[in-house]
């Protein structure tokens, strides 16, 4: 508790609007097989009322990052370095008691699987009311009223009677709505959504995504939206962070990144994905190989064993030197800006038709 310092002001290099600022975050787990470098030198910022999308494949460290922000990692086996500053408060060194005050109040989370994230033992209404009572000191009756209000807002039919239902009486889409209600009940400033629609059907997913967007307008929360689906992110996010092997490889506005990507991994992701309007006579262009093990990540650029453009860089820079990710719109790649542009427009873009 005593480690809370007031020096963050000098350390945050980006705009004063950044509400959550993560700097050089490193998360390691010690396992029987060795040390897993789940997150390796990650920095990003989230502005108030904006949505940051984080995309990456399984094992790219996107979920671990956000569990660390909430302090939900296992402190016994995990070492966390770097800094996470939420609204001027340092979280890496914060005590459990301080984190408890934040969770569900200032920061809330929506998990992927609403069935395992909701307790089967308590009614939906009680689970929504609990954080409200804890953080605002409201009475049981007030909290229940609030729960009904929230259920109405997220579109649960007959909220007055459904508030007393148990999670198993809800369908998958309704459970995810209840999760959203629970997350928003204390009007959080930051909402972390970890693959919130992956377990849902497309038509329900579309409803939930639009609902989240509209509720964000009303509540003004910042959202960190984690997903593996570029289509979903293109719809939801303002800014985009592409992660690979525990590191950020590309960052920028969502339109810039998706329309003019600069990192070979982002190129690979976009061209390996079939699209509804795409040309079906062309084969897809998958990325060769598979994602690296985090126990023993490749030296230099983590993507170099799968990258088709290491020859353009020349020498062995890709396998020896780790490319830095600059500030703002940037890609962590040794290719020069002109090379990236030529390769993208000549080779990659024609494939995306």
């Amino acid at each position: 508790m005593t480690t809370l310092t007031k020096t963050e002001g000098e350390k945050a290099p980006t705009g004063p609007d950044s509400f959550l600022s993560v700097r050089d975050l490193r998360v390691r787990f010690s396992t029987e097989d060795g040390i897993v470098k789940a997150v390796d030198g990650l920095s990003f910022d989230v502005e108030r009322g904006k949505t940051l999308g984080i995309v990456g494949e399984s094992g790219s460290g996107k979920s671990v990052t956000n569990l660390t922000v909430l302090g939900l990692h296992n402190p016994k086996t995990t070492t966390v370095e770097g800094e996470i500053v939420l609204d001027g408060q340092e979280l890496v060194t914060a005590s459990e008691k301080e984190m408890e005050k934040l969770r569900g109040n200032k920061v809330a989370m929506i998990f992927q699987d609403p069935l395992t994230a909701l307790s089967p033992y308590y009614t939906v209404g009680r689970q929504i009311a609990e954080p409200f009572m804890k953080h605002t000191g409201a009475s049981k009756k007030e909290a229940r009223e609030r729960a009904i209000e929230m259920l109405t807002k997220v579109g649960i039919p007959q909220p007055k009677s459904r508030v007393d239902d148990y999670p198993h009486q809800f369908s998958g889409g309704m459970r995810q709505r209840a999760m959203i209600a629970m997350a928003l009940v204390c009007d959080p400033d930051l909402l972390i959504a970890d693959e919130p629609t992956t377990a849902l059907d497309v038509t329900v997913q579309a409803q939930i995504l639009d609902l989240l967007k509209d509720l964000q307008q009303e509540f003004g929360s910042a959202i960190v939206f984690i997903t593996h689906d570029l289509g979903v992110i293109s719809d939801m996010a303002d800014d985009l962070l592409v992660m690979y092997s525990g590191r950020a490889v590309e960052r920028g506005g969502v339109r810039e990144v998706l329309r003019e990507p600069r990192h070979p991994y982002t190129w690979g992701l976009l061209s390996s994905m079939p699209r509804l309007g795409g040309d079906t006579s062309q084969a897809l262009n998958p990325i060769p190989g598979s994602p690296p093990s985090l126990l023993n990540p490749p030296s230099g650029c983590p993507f170099h064993p799968r990258c088709a453009f290491t020859g353009e860089v020349g020498g062995d820079r890709c396998s020896t030197e780790r490319p830095p990710l600059g500030e703002g719109r940037a890609a962590a790649c040794h290719l020069t800006a002109e090379q990236k542009q030529t390769i993208f427009f000549d080779t990659i873009q024609p494939r995306l038709r």
């Binding site: 494949e57 399984s58 109405t152 807002k153 997220v154 579109g155 039919p157 369908s171 998958g172 889409g173 309704m174 709505r177 059907d201 497309v202 038509t203 329900v204 997913q205 579309a206 409803q207 995504l209 639009d210 609902l211 509209d214 509720l215 307008q217 009303e218 593996h228 689906d229 570029l230 289509g231 979903v232 293109s234 719809d235 339109r255 998706l258 329309r259 690979g268 992701l269 976009l270 390996s272 994905m273 079939p274 699209r275 509804l276 309007g277 795409g278 079906t280 084969a283 897809l284 262009n285 998958p286 990325i287 060769p288 598979s290 994602p291 995306l352």
Partner: protein, 371 residues
């Protein structure tokens, strides 16, 4: 509108006169629900698949799309006879296999193979890759020229794995590689039809494309017919020449790829397509229609009367509740494009003058924004 139909339900006529390999007529599967004490009685049934017609031509790839619980996987399992149909008829290469006995099925089994969704649970962890791929040949008593082991090595090479990995165990492979093992096993008996049940949905995006390309190569080079079951509409579009859309145990629309994706008529197909999140790489994608349904799919235990989609449909009228729409080539459809709807939509996926938003919470929030 549905009165001006032109053709009776005639499937499989994609224009190209392919010979039908598999024909399914009125296929039905009801899973009984038992209840009561002390004597358990049948109290109801989950109508998982109800009166489904489907044709797969020789060497053709047919996609089956729909949301979870629509019966697409059950249909696949019925066709491979892993489940016993409640009703209807399955004809494979002119032979009725609906209720064929084990012995009668023996010759057909080797020609219809299956690829499963989860590459982790569909491979025996205690057997080597060689044993896994070899066992279909052993069971069916097939001795390829040069021996089974040689064949297995050839198959491993075909699916892009190192033949040297013959003696490795499944846990030594990644998810994508395991799915390749599953493909090799399905190919071991030179099948004519492969039922692929969500073969890529458990894989990462970059690996998905590798497996889709492999399946496409196999399909084109070996001329194997595919029934490709998936919920991902973009993957199905990429892989299938013809697509059937299922909703709550029924086929609501079927047709060639272009008809389904660019000229859909059934409101559910419209809703499904508009819900697919697309990467906005150009302005074109932003000019898509926006339809947001309300609620979830109803329970297949008590499906709605008449048209099963009517409870979530914005065009539903009294007729939809009383009369079940037949699957027909309604006027305006191209040949082979059948739609089961009384009040079909225009054949276009472009943005409408007004979005269809049925979800009450969304509607309330959006109306506030407009004011």
């Amino acid at each position: 509108m549905s009165d001006n139909l032109t053709l009776p339900a005639q499937q499989g006529s994609t224009g190209a006169s392919t010979e039908a390999l598999l024909t399914v007529e009125g296929l039905t599967k009801h899973f009984p629900i038992y209840g009561g004490f002390p004597i358990k009685r049948k109290v109801g049934a989950v109508q998982a698949v109800d009166d489904v017609d489907l044709t797969v031509g020789v060497g053709e790839s047919v996609g089956l799309v729909g949301e979870s619980g629509c019966g697409k996987s059950t249909t696949g399992r019925l066709i491979t006879r892993l489940l016993e149909p409640t009703g209807g008829k399955i004809t494979y290469a002119g032979q009725d296999i609906t209720h064929a006995s084990r012995r009668q099925m023996a010759s057909v089994r080797s020609e219809i193979q299956m690829i499963f969704q989860d590459p982790y649970s569909s491979l025996n962890p205690r057997q080597t890759v060689g044993t896994i791929i070899k066992s279909p040949m052993e069971v069916n008593g097939i001795d390829p020229a040069g021996g089974r082991e040689k064949k297995v090595r050839e198959l491993l090479e075909l699916v892009g794995l190192n033949p040297e990995h013959y003696n490795r165990f499944p846990h030594e492979f990644s998810g994508g590689q395991r799915q390749r093992i599953g493909v090799a096993r399905a190919l071991a008996l030179n099948p004519k039809l492969i039922v692929a049940d969500e073969p890529v949905s458990a894989l990462d995006v970059s690996i998905q494309a590798q497996v889709v390309n492999l399946l496409q190569k196999v399909q084109e080079e070996l001329g194997i017919a595919f029934l490709f079951i998936a919920h991902d509409l973009a993957v199905v579009r990429h892989f299938s020449q013809r697509v059937a859309v299922m909703y709550l145990g029924k086929v609501v629309e079927v047709g060639d790829r272009d008809s389904i994706y660019n000229r859909p008529r059934h409101p559910y197909t419209h809703a499904l397509l508009s819900a697919v999140p697309e990467v906005a790489m150009d302005d074109e994608t932003e000019n898509r229609e926006r339809i947001r349904l309300a609620g979830d799919v109803p329970s297949p235990i008590m499906p709605p009367s008449g048209c099963r989609f009517r409870t979530r449909c914005w065009k539903a009228q009294d007729k939809c509740a009383t009369e079940e729409p037949p699957l027909l080539q309604i006027s305006g459809n191209r040949e082979g494009h059948l739609t089961a709807c009384h009040f079909p939509e225009d054949p276009s996926t472009e943005a409408r003058t007004e979005d269809v938003v049925l979800d009450p919470a969304l509607k309330a929030l959006e109306d506030v924004e407009k004011d």
